[in-house]
Every structure is written in structure tokens, then in C-alpha cells.
Amino acid sequence: MENSEVTKVVLLACGSFNPITNMHLRMFELARDHLEDTGNYRVIKGIISPVGDGYKKKGLIEASHRIEMVKLATETSDWVTVDPWEGQQADWVETAKVIRHHYQELLAAERSKDEVDTVRIGKKRRHEDRGGCSNGGRTGVPQLKLLCGADVLESFSVPNLWKPEDITEIVGHFGLVCITRAGSDAWKFLHQSDTLWRHRKNIHLVKEWVTNEISATHVRRALRRGQSVRYLLPDPVVQYIQELSLYTADSEEKNADIILAPLQKYSHGGN
């Protein structure tokens, strides 16, 4: 029943996932339902990309554990998977670079499908990929969109957190699917930012009617206080955390006095 107008989409979520919660997983379900309901899109894949240790966020435990937990959490999903690339990088990687990396992966996968000789990729073709301003415009290659919460949209206006050209690339070249809560200011943020407004057609705001604020911060707090976190995270993740005693008062002090990597990077350059 699918018509040719339907665009294939891959959703990418970047974040700490420290640890992954049911709310993170729920965002993917909401986004897919919303995009497919428009009749214009078919969501074929979801990628969860936990940030690397170089991000230096307070209480951020080792990427290897966070990746493993996402792997366990997505075992029952037939479309959402974890990708360890970002988490395995020694230094913090800008989100724009992460998106570019995954888009290149999608292009490569499409090429290996198209071409018999997948080893030698012509320079000309590569040039086209970089030059073309449409994300997934060519037939077969899915569009790649960043899936995020309203907090990411709001963070665009935090000084030194994002490079302006990265925001333009993310919303202009790729696109954003943003889950917003009832009563959220997402629309106001979209209205107040000229960059976001210019690319509003590339920004999908998905309303979450059922507030479900399972924050990872709350989960870590409950864990280090010895309280139950069952049914807030998938059972295999709860088991993994308990077996390895991952979140404790000590682990919460990790990076306590360290400035977040993006703030370090951009505030130095800025001044």
C-alpha cells in the first residue's frame, strides 16, 4: 500500500543514556508514530548513540557500560539499535559530526546494495554526496533525522554549547524530530530563533500527551539511595546495574569539577 512519495527515515538519538530509561525508548515509538502518520515518511531504523567519556558530564559512567545497557534495552525492539561509534571515540565528538558519520554509513550501505564493486568508490560520487544539499534526496538513501527532547531545542540558545553552523547543518541539512511535553515552550523556541524558524519545515514537533518524565538523573538518585528503579528501565538493564553496582555516591562524583567538553572547547575559541 506504500506509494513512491514515501520517504524513508532513520532516526538518530544522541545523549548520555546514563542510564537508558523507558522514556528514551518511548521517544522512538512516539516519533515513528508521528512521522508515519503524516503519510510522507516510513521510519526504517532507530539508532541510539551514547556519548563518549570525553563529554565529561558529572556522574557519567564508562561508555562501555552505557553502550551495553542500551544494547540490553533494545534487544526486544525490532527497529531500534545501539551504535557504539560515538561512545568509543577518545574525545568528545560534536553532534553534527556524529550525524555526518551516520549519514556516510547510510550512503555506504546503499552503495554496497547498488554496486557490485563496493571496494573502490569513485571520487566523483563522494563529491556528489558532500556537495548535495539534500539529505537522502536520491532514491534509496534514507533521510537521517536527529531525534531529541525539547531540552535540546532549548539548548541551542545556550551560549558556547553549540557552534551556530552546526545548528544550521543539523536542522537545515538533516532535520530534527523533537518530542515535546504538554505545556512545553518548544514552539516559542522555534519562533524566537531565526535559524530554527528558517528551517521549520525540517523540524517535526511531536506532542507527548502522556507526561513520562523518567529522567536518568532521577534513576541514578534512586539507585544510589538503594531504592527500586524497576519498571522505569527494562528489567535486563536493572539487572546489569545491580550486578555491577554501577551507580553509587562515588560514581556520581565523577567529573564533578570538570567543565563540560563543548563548553571547554567553544568558550576558549570564542574569547
Binding site: 525508548l25 512516539l30 515513528r32 513520562n212 518524565e213 523518567i214 538503594g226 527500586s228 519498571y231
Partner: protein
């Protein structure tokens, strides 16, 4: 410090939610170390036993439609258990989830056998909460106090250990507490029995004010030491109503309820536009009879 295998057996028994001993399972020790550690274990055993001996064993009972059961329902049990353990007075030894019978007459209420089956699937992985179908099989709706008496009788029939027979308390939401002040809904002696003899564990969220409900009801206020107020800090509005809405609209309900329940709903074609029309316009059985609500956990 590690524990000898003999010890862990004991610990496993009392492990039931006791945070301090979690993760000590499967402790394996070298034979050399055993004697020294056995001694430490005995000391520990006594300390724990002393601490537990003065704790009152407790069973939590929740009544509701569970139409269908959601992760939030199961979460309430976890929150209540943590809270009761933190009082230092209680040891939660079990939880009972009791789905209401079909005669309750609520709009969109799926047949009890399905609601019971779904709750069983959802709680399969729980080592302390179980489903009881007694209430769901009753020919008429059962008042909360009657359900409590039934389950307390069942508890008394079981062999008791040294700690004595467990207490039974009702696990409820803040909106259930509000029903106590609705004129004509509750019989005074029933409120007295539920709050005074049994007791309540009430989980509230958002802007709910369960302390106000206690304050505004003389009987609850008199027994306030037997009314335990638990705060849910996570804003979580997962409700069975929202789940049914998503299901009949063909939207995903994954991560709102266990996968096994979603599969069951799909297999039996349970929540549809048609099923939501069931009992439409029908007055709830307790309201028709001027009686107290049988649902302690709304939605």
C-alpha cells in the same frame, strides 16, 4: 567481605527488598577463609535477625480495573515497598493485585479473565507481587473492605513464622483517599475498619495533596499513624485510559506496559473502538448502590 554459602541461604530468604543485603547472592568463598567468615556471618545473622525480628511483616493489596495493567501500576508497588521499608518498622513480604469483576460496569472494561491473564503475564517476573482473581470472580462488585477481609482471612490461614501473622494494608492512589470525604459513598464503620484496623499506603503524584485528604476526614485523621503517604517524584502520567486510547488508534504502547501484555492484547484483539463502547452510559455499580469504590488504584 564475602559470605559463606550457608549464610546466603538465610540472606536470600530475607532479601525480599532488603536493600542492604542485595548483591550478596552466590557468594563463593575459599575453604581456608570459611571459619573466620562463618564467625562474622553468625554475628551478622544475629544483627539482621534482631533488626528483622522487630519488623512487622506486611502484605500490600491493590484493587482496580487494571484495564489493562501498566508499568505504572507495578511501579506503585515498588514505591510503596521502598517507603514501608524506610520506616524501619515493616518488612513487606508480599503484594496482591486484585482486578475488579465485570459487574463493576466501567466503560471499556475488558472481560475479567483477560484482565487477570494480562496482570499475571505482567507480574510473572516479580518475585513478590501476585495476582488474585477472587474479587474478579464475584457475581457482584465487592466493597474494598470485603476484599480486604477475604485476603486477611487467607493470610491467617497460612502457616506463620516467628514474626507472627503479617499485616494487610491497602495500596491506593491519592484520588482514592479523596473518596472518603464524598458524602454517602462510604459507611463510617468501613472507613474505620480500612484505616484503623488495616491501614493505607497512599502514593501521590504531581499536585495531589493526600495530606489534605487525611486532614479533611475525621476518621483518617484519627488513624493518621496508620495512613502512610508516599510521594512519587517522577512525573509519570501513564494511565490505562491513555494506553487504551493509543491501542485503539493503532499507535505504539511499547514501554508503557510489558511486551507480553501487548502481545496478549494483539492476540485477543482486546482494545478496539467497539470494546471502548462497552458499558457506555452505564452507571458504575457502586454509585448505583451508594457504596464505596472498589478501585484503590485508579486506572
Amino acid at each position: 567481605m564475602e559470605l559463606t554459602p550457608g549464610c546466603t541461604v538465610f540472606f536470600k530468604v530475607i532479601e525480599f527488598g532488603s536493600v542492604s543485603v542485595r548483591g550478596t547472592r552466590n557468594a563463593v568463598t575459599q575453604p581456608k577463609q570459611r571459619r573466620k567468615e562463618a564467625f562474622i556471618c553468625i554475628c551478622r545473622d544475629h544483627a539482621v535477625r534482631d533488626r528483622m525480628a522487630c519488623r512487622i511483616p506486611l502484605v500490600l493489596l491493590a484493587c482496580g480495573s487494571f484495564n489493562p495493567i501498566t508499568l505504572q501500576h507495578m511501579r506503585l508497588f515498588e514505591l510503596a515497598r521502598d517507603h514501608m521499608h524506610q520506616t524501619g518498622q515493616f518488612q513487606v513480604v508480599g503484594g496482591i493485585l486484585s482486578p475488579v469483576s465485570d459487574v463493576y460496569g466501567k466503560q471499556g472494561l475488558a472481560p475479567a479473565r483477560h484482565r487477570v491473564a494480562m496482570a499475571r503475564l505482567a507480574l510473572k517476573s516479580s518475585d513478590w507481587v501476585r495476582v488474585d482473581d477472587w474479587e474478579s470472580k464475584q457475581a457482584d462488585w465487592t466493597e474494598t473492605v470485603v476484599t480486604m477481609r477475604h485476603h486477611y482471612d487467607q493470610i491467617l490461614k497460612q502457616p506463620q513464622n516467628a514474626a507472627g501473622a503479617p499485616q494487610l494494608k491497602l495500596l491506593c492512589g491519592a484520588d482514592f483517599l479523596d473518596t472518603f470525604k464524598v458524602p454517602g459513598l462510604w459507611r463510617a464503620d468501613h472507613v474505620e475498619e480500612v484505616a484503623g484496623q488495616f491501614g493505607l499506603v497512599c502514593v501521590s503524584r504531581g499536585s495531589q495533596q493526600p495530606d489534605r485528604a487525611v486532614h479533611e476526614c475525621d476518621t483518617l485523621s484519627r488513624h493518621r499513624s496508620n495512613v502512610f503517604l508516599v510521594r512519587e517524584w517522577v512525573r509519570n502520567e501513564i494511565s490505562a485510559t491513555e494506553v487504551r486510547r493509543a491501542l485503539r488508534r493503532g499507535l505504539s504502547a511499547k514501554y508503557l506496559l510489558p511486551d507480553a501484555v501487548i502481545d496478549y492484547i494483539r492476540q485477543h484483539g482486546l482494545y478496539t473502538w467497539e470494546s471502548e463502547q462497552r458499558n457506555k452510559g452505564v452507571v458504575l455499580r457502586p454509585l448505583a448502590q451508594q457504596g464505596a469504590p472498589p478501585e484503590t488504584l485508579a486506572d
